[in-house]
Amino acid sequence: MTLTAAPGAPAAPAGVRPAALRRRRTVGLALCALAVLLAVVASLAFGTRVVGWSDVVAGVFAPDTSDIAQAAVRSRVARTVLGLLVGAALGVGGAVLQGLTRNPLADPALLGISSGASLAVVLGIMLLGLSTLSQYVWLAFAGAAISSVLVYAIASLGREGATPLKLALAGAATTAALGSAVSMVLLSRTDVLDTFRFWQVGSLGRASFPEIAQVLPFLVVGTVLALGCARGMDAIALGDDVAVGLGRRVGAVRAVGGAAAVLLCGTAVAAAGPIGFVGLVVPHLARTFTGPSHRWLLPSSAALGAALLLAADVVGRVVARPQEIEVGIVTAVLGAPVFIAIIRRRKVAEL
């Protein structure tokens, strides 16, 4: 099973001929694309308000704003676009994190990246009186970058480098540390608490096109950087020494890939709040049909991530009518069991 192979384990899955592998990858990618399409349709069609199919079509292409059903569909468009972007960013970001750290458990939320963003946002609300999403974006972004570097630096101290256990513990500990600073602020300022508690839960419900336009450049740059070092990450998967022997500049690949991961994850957190487990689960799923090659893994992760996040969002909208459950909660509740399954499948010695 490729699922149990270390991320980017050498070469193709054993016993698969190149032609068969190519076919499997193509079919897999096509299925992912189909899944995205279905998720988009579902995301436009289903929601807190039940609408007919004719309203869905009309709402997307020629909205009649006086019709409430069509207006509801219209409002789902921005949400769907944001879901696609954030899901793809989390998928690619997770795959890059896992590839660079050679760590099957790397995920932006578990590694404390989101908590850095949270602290930055809280401080921004309190000290600078910020209140709109476009203002949070930058802060969340800076916070995410700082805390991800901090967590990785702490975990990679010591002889064996950043092992999965050390990374997970460093992430959890940093989250706890930053969390207590956040609650110190929140307890003394009820007004800040009232603004923050809604941001703290990852959600697509606040999407709007101006904000999407604002985060889009970051996502594009991050994706390009990530794709640019795909081959380098394939080499790193063989071990740093081998990668150097193959003529890769390991330091450069790590730096560029790390920048890509922070850009992607930080922007996703900034745009939608902390959403856990998507970045963790998606690359593992994608690897089952792409094998370890990052040139296939990254696009597949993007497509799968987008599809999964949208699907989770639709689930959250439908299960608790007339209210909705934020997507960050749905992914955590569905994703944690997958994480546990991954841990249970591996021998602890490998961790």
């Binding site: 458990l105 939320a109 578990l110 901090l150 702490i154 975990a155 990679s156 101290l157 010591g158 002889r159 999965p164 256990l165 050390k166 997970a168 513990l169 460093a170 992430g171 959890a172 500990a173 940093t174 706890a176 540390a177 930053l178 969390g179 207590s180 600073a181 609650s183 110190m184 929140l186 307890l187 003394s188 009820t190 608490l193 009232d194 508690r197 809604f198 703290q200 839960v201 856990g276 487990f277 459950i325 934020e326 960050g328 909660i329 955590a332 509740v333 944690a336 994480f339 546990i340 841990i343 249970r344 602890v348 961790l351």
Partner: protein, 352 residues
């Protein structure tokens, strides 16, 4: 420094070994005595100082049961249960934490980090915000939920035996899941309930009054001695499963018993005050530095825990611009220490 000497050429004689042992024992006794005195002293200060301060003599008279106008209410009704609760939960968190850390052989594997406390917190927050529970029912729910979550973590990490690393990772995953439940409950609550729940999440002594002290003390009077007895197996477990089995300690059974009692201790304390941040995590390593590996850490860690809670509560009540609950103070004090410890253990690979 012995480390820079060339490999020892002389074998220490029996007399040297005995002298060393006596010196270590003396050091341990001194440290324990100093800690105990410090706890009593800080408790005394906490009783005397407040919005209205009283001289020690009046406080003593109140404690001896005399009626002193003013002081009887302020000290006897308000401050004494607060201090007692602080001491008790400090002991509980310190002991429970150090058992986890020693057993899992990782100072970071304390209950507040690997999701054990999160069970109680999540249950309490849901109970407050969605069902409007309070008082004894709330405490009971928190205790039961803490035990259930810990059992679930243990069961999930079971795969022909439980390994420490797997337990830690699964605990982190379960903790992350529970955190999102908490976040969800917070968004569904009115802002007053939300801040009430948040206070509960950080840990606070503000709701410590006489009716709550007796159940807490009763539960701990049973659990703490049990934990002390069970903890005799810890040194063997620390050597690894195979060595422990060779020494006549059944690793899985002992670990389960220890975990169960330690979780119960933590859950009872959490139900009384909320999970006071980082006390369970900090007490063990601090106690270790103080007694320098001269014996079991449970009692020193318990004293350190009590001291931490009392001092942090004093600071939070009187020394800051706002009145902060004790958990915020320990959290903010603990965070830098946590990061430092993280960096240090990773570099040296030490166990505590």
């Amino acid at each position: 420094m012995t480390a820079v000497l060339p490999p020892a050429t002389t074998v220490p004689t029996g007399a040297t070994v005995a002298r060393g042992r006596r010196a270590r024992l003396r050091r341990r006794r001194v440290v324990l005595l100093v800690l105990a005195v410090a706890v009593v002293a800080v408790a005394g200060v906490a009783l005397c100082v407040g919005e209205r301060s009283y001289p020690p003599s009046e406080v003593l008279r109140v404690l001896l049961g005399e009626q002193v106008p003013g002081a009887s209410f302020n000290v006897g009704v308000l401050r004494t249960p607060r201090v007692l609760t602080g001491v008790l939960v400090g002991i509980a968190f310190g002991m429970g934490g150090v058992v986890f850390q020693t057993m899992l052989r990782n100072p970071l594997a304390s209950p507040d980090i690997i999701g054990v406390s999160a069970g109680s917190s999540a249950a309490a927050v849901v109970a407050i915000t969605m069902f409007g529970l309070s008082g004894t029912t709330l405490s009971a729910v928190a205790v039961v939920a803490g035990l259930v979550v810990a059992a679930a973590i243990y069961a999930l990490s079971w795969r022909s035996g439980v390994q420490g690393a797997r337990l830690v990772l699964i605990g982190i995953a379960v903790g992350a899941m529970l955190d999102s439940v908490i976040a969800y409950a917070l968004t569904r609550a009115g802002v007053y309930d939300a801040s009430e729940a948040l206070r509960w999440l950080t840990g606070s002594l503000n709701s410590a009054f006489w009716p709550g002290v007796a159940p807490l003390a009763g539960a701990l009077a049973v659990l703490v001695p049990t934990l002390l007895v069970l903890a005799r197996r810890l040194p063997a477990l620390q050597l690894g499963d195979d060595a422990a089995a060779g020494l006549g300690v059944r690793p899985d059974r002992s670990r389960l018993a220890l975990l169960l009692v330690a979780v119960a201790v933590i859950a009872v304390a959490t139900a009384a005050t909320g999970p006071i941040a980082f006390v369970a995590f900090l007490s063990g390593p601090i106690a270790h530095r103080l007694v320098r590996g001269t014996g079991p850490l449970l009692v020193p860690a318990a004293l350190v825990g009590a001291l931490l809670v009392l001092v942090a509560d004093l600071v939070g009540q009187h020394l800051l611009v706002h009145r902060f609950p004790v958990g915020v103070v320990t959290g903010v004090l603990g965070a830098p220490y946590l990061l430092w410890l993280l960096a240090r253990t990773n570099r040296s690979g030490g166990s505590l």
